[in-house]
Amino acid sequence: MRETKNIILCGVGGQGTILTSKVLSNCLMKAGYDVKMSEVHGMAQRGGSVTTQVRFGDYVHSPIMGKGSADILVAFEKMEALRYLDMIKPEGKVILNDYEIASSTVLAGEEEYSSLILEEVTNAANASVLNACKIAGNIGNVKAMNIVLLGCLVKFMNLGELDWDTAIRENVKPSLVDLNIKAFYAGLGAVSN
């Protein structure tokens, strides 16, 4: 019996967290896992905080997990890592994209985006920090940073042997398949376990 693993992806609307979890859960399903994925997206199309949860194992009941339950948190944005840090197990892992998006309250000058966010996350948790935006930019499109982060996640989950190429091919636009496969392997190679 394989123990259920819990993954959380968090970011800001428009960053591609939902597509990432779609690729992830499809690949896991084809590999024979029971998978449940849950997305929480607010009202607006863009700009709000977005999270998806993916749970997989032999049999998964609840589509969502509680606090202190995630094995890995993948944060597409720094502030979002801190927002959801209480979701991970104390021994859990954080994959942190060193990327900053100011919220509307910050833009309006009503709140400050602290310069201590990265430090706070890395002090509190076992975190791997990377600049997925830069890695994706080097490949040719900063928007592929979501799939770079998927590559990192797969590395830390030790699931590199699954058929990720097919999962990417089946879930992204045909014109973006090559870019995203490149991004995936760049992410896979960007971190060491």
Binding site: V12, S25, N26, M29, D34, V35, K36, M37, S38, E39, V40, H41, G42, M43, A44, Q45, R46, G47, G48, S49, V60, S62, P63, I64, M65, G66, K67, G68, S69, M79, E80, L82, R83, L85, D86, M87, I88, P90, I101, A102, S103, S104, T105, V106, L107, A108, G109, E110, E111, E112, Y113, S114, L116, I117, E120, V121, A124, A125, V142, K143
Partner: protein
């Protein structure tokens, strides 16, 4: 064939497998993707439509059932309030072709103004109700729902929740059923709703409920999982999954898929076998109250909150008083990230300017413009439901006027909301001689739910060209004498129009007309609005870092603390030009524009 599907995608597949002939909906989170999926994948087989509102969707589905097809109406929980009128009478007449009403409730209010529990509708309308606990059941229950609808001559409520609608789990597909449309035969006694036949319907409904309860007791939709007599759990929907997560095999379960009428004999037998009985359900004590009324002792809402969405944590804490360990960190550093207008949103210019007006009260509505109450605009005063924007403004205006209040009322709603129930809202203000200024923010699409076509957009759900209902002509026909159409991104035009509108002591209407920033433009849009999507850039030597532009709240503007200058995010910016108009130093220009 198996696929990993959201509950909504699964319901769409279920419609195909159930042989549904007609489906209608008004978009509303978390229900929207059901009809979108039917439209995308099955429109060859199923007649599928966006209706202007939920009442109309329900009525159209009723007509389809009367004409002999299996039919579906789909809506979010508050939509059922709108559709309740036809529902309650259709519950009396019964169906010809099977009819399933899908209600997508939103515990936790992820995107809703309340978290009403629509299971109560099944009880009030005295109709059968099914509740899926994963995507597989969501699909299967459309098929079963259609069969039960025809068997019991009743519409069936398929009650979903956000977590079922938007979670993905694995679904094994079935074969689509070929269901023939039942030839039409006039049946005035059943559908005429006239005295004296109408009096025969209610007794029939009561009889139907008795038979349905017998079915519920015998049905495999309501299933026992035996793990010993110490603890018993009765649960349904996603709450069942949370219960399984928390109790594991340390409890026996009575898992209910049919939750109205409840299988009370089965519940009684289960209760008799266990030492301690819990009822675990989200929101209201819907099952618990009925179980207790049947004289069965159980524990439910005294431990588990009736507020918000449940999760395994909440159930575990409530029952076992146990909590997971979490990391310690300074959560005080986390800023809020409220939903906001997108870069290039046409609402930005309108509300940036409107918020500057003194002595106005803004009565808003359900849609993206509701975000105008957030930072940095803080414009909206109140909103209640679809279509309330003008009528609530009107009531407030009458009181303000009679009692000498300084404030004038401004009502605001979108194009789709206007078609939904805003037309009658406006008619109320016109008919009763209001001095309300009414603004229709026409962004050429239904925005907030993710771009669904509507009667003003020129296309139907399945992409067919359709008659464009002209908002200006509708407003004129309602009797409004003062109407102005403006581009909401031109700040001076907005200012002038608002002053103009407030100068009358009778109804005035401003229609803003500019497409949603994320809308895929149609040929007609391109002809009307041109290619305006050229980003802007900030000339660093002219920028003095005053942040005036930032107060327009555009996510494509970035303030660099060290350099004390603003830059733009070329990926997000679509060149709406609001910041250009706001900058006091004329430091912002369209890319490629000369000196």
């Amino acid at each position: 064939m198996k696929q990993i599907l959201t509950g909504n995608e699964a319901v769409a597949r279920g419609a195909l497998e159930a042989g549904v002939g007609f489906a209608s909906a008004y978009p509303g989170t978390p229900s929207t993707e059901i009809l979108e999926n039917i439209g995308e994948k099955y429109s060859d087989t199923i007649i599928c439509e966006w209706a202007p509102n939920e009442k109309v969707a329900m009525e159209a589905a009723i007509g389809a059932s009367v004409m002999g097809a299996r039919s579906m109406a789909v809506m979010k929980h508050v939509g059922v309030n709108v559709a309740a009128d036809p529902l309650f009478t259709f519950a009396y007449t019964g169906v010809t072709g099977g009819m399933v009403l899908v209600s997508a409730d939103d515990p936790g209010q992820h995107s809703s103004q309340n978290e009403q529990d629509n299971r109560n509708y099944a009880k009030s309308a005295k109709i059968l109700m099914l509740e899926p606990s994963n995507s597989q059941e969501a699909k299967d229950m459309v098929v079963i729902g259609m069969e039960l609808s025809e068997q019991f001559d009743s519409p069936v409520l398929l009650r979903m929740t956000t977590r079922i609608c938007h979670s993905k789990s694995i679904v094994e597909f079935g074969e689509p059923k070929a269901v023939k449309v039942i030839p039409y035969k006039k049946n005035y006694a059943k559908y005429g709703i006239m005295f004296p036949e109408i009096l025969k319907l209610h007794p029939k409904v009561e009889q139907r409920l008795k038979l349905a309860e017998e079915y519920s007791n015998a049905s495999s939709l309501n299933v026992e999982e035996w793990n010993g007599s110490k603890v018993g759990v009765i649960s349904a929907g996603v709450a069942y999954q949370y219960a399984k997560e928390v109790f594991g095999d340390k409890a026996s379960y009575l898992k209910l898929g049919m939750t109205y009428p409840l299988p009370m004999a089965k519940i009684l037998a289960f209760a008799d076998k266990v030492d301690k009985l819990y009822v675990i359900e989200e929101l209201e004590p819907f099952m618990e109250e009925q179980i207790k009324a049947a004289g069965i002792d159980c524990v439910g809402k005294e431990l588990i909150t009736s507020i918000g969405e449940l999760n395994p944590d909440i159930v575990k804490k409530a029952i076992f008083n146990e909590e997971n360990n979490i990391l310690t960190f300074n959560k005080g550093l986390v800023t809020q990230r409220p939903a906001t207008f997108c870069a290039g949103c046409p609402h930005r210019g309108f509300f940036y300017q409107l918020a500057k007006e003194k002595n106005i009260v803004i009565s808003s509505d359900i849609g993206c413009y509701g975000l105008s109450g957030n930072a940095p605009y803080h414009a909206k005063d109140f909103a209640f439901c679809m279509g309330s924007g003008f009528s609530s403004a009107h009531g407030a205006a009458k009181v303000a006027q009679k009692h000498g209040a300084q404030q004038r009322l401004v009502g605001v709603m979108g194009d789709s909301t206007f078609f939904h129930s805003g037309m009658t809202s406006m008619l109320d203000a016109v008919y009763n001689n209001s001095n309300t200024l009414m603004c229709i923010l026409d962004n050429r699409i239904t925005g907030m739910t993710g771009h669904q076509e509507n009667p003003g957009s020129g296309f139907t759900l399945d992409g067919e060209a359709s008659t464009v209902t002209d908002i200006y002509q509708v407003v004129k026909a309602l009797g409004v004498k003062h109407i102005r159409v403006i581009n909401p991104l031109k700040l001076q035009d907005v200012k002038d129009a608002v002053n103009w509108g407030l100068s009358f002591d009778e109804p005035a209407v401003i229609i803003t007309r500019w497409p949603c920033a994320l809308k895929k433009l149609s040929q007609a849009d391109k002809a009307e609005f041109g290619n305006y999507k050229i980003p802007v850039t900030v000339e660093a030597d002219k920028c003095i870092g005053c942040k005036a532009c930032m107060r327009a709240g555009c996510p494509a503007l970035i303030y660099n603390m060290e350099k004390r200058k603003v830059t733009t995010d070329a990926v997000q910016c679509i060149g709406c030009e609001v910041c250009i108009q706001v900058c006091p130093k004329k430091a912002i220009k369209k890319v490629g524009a000369g000196e």
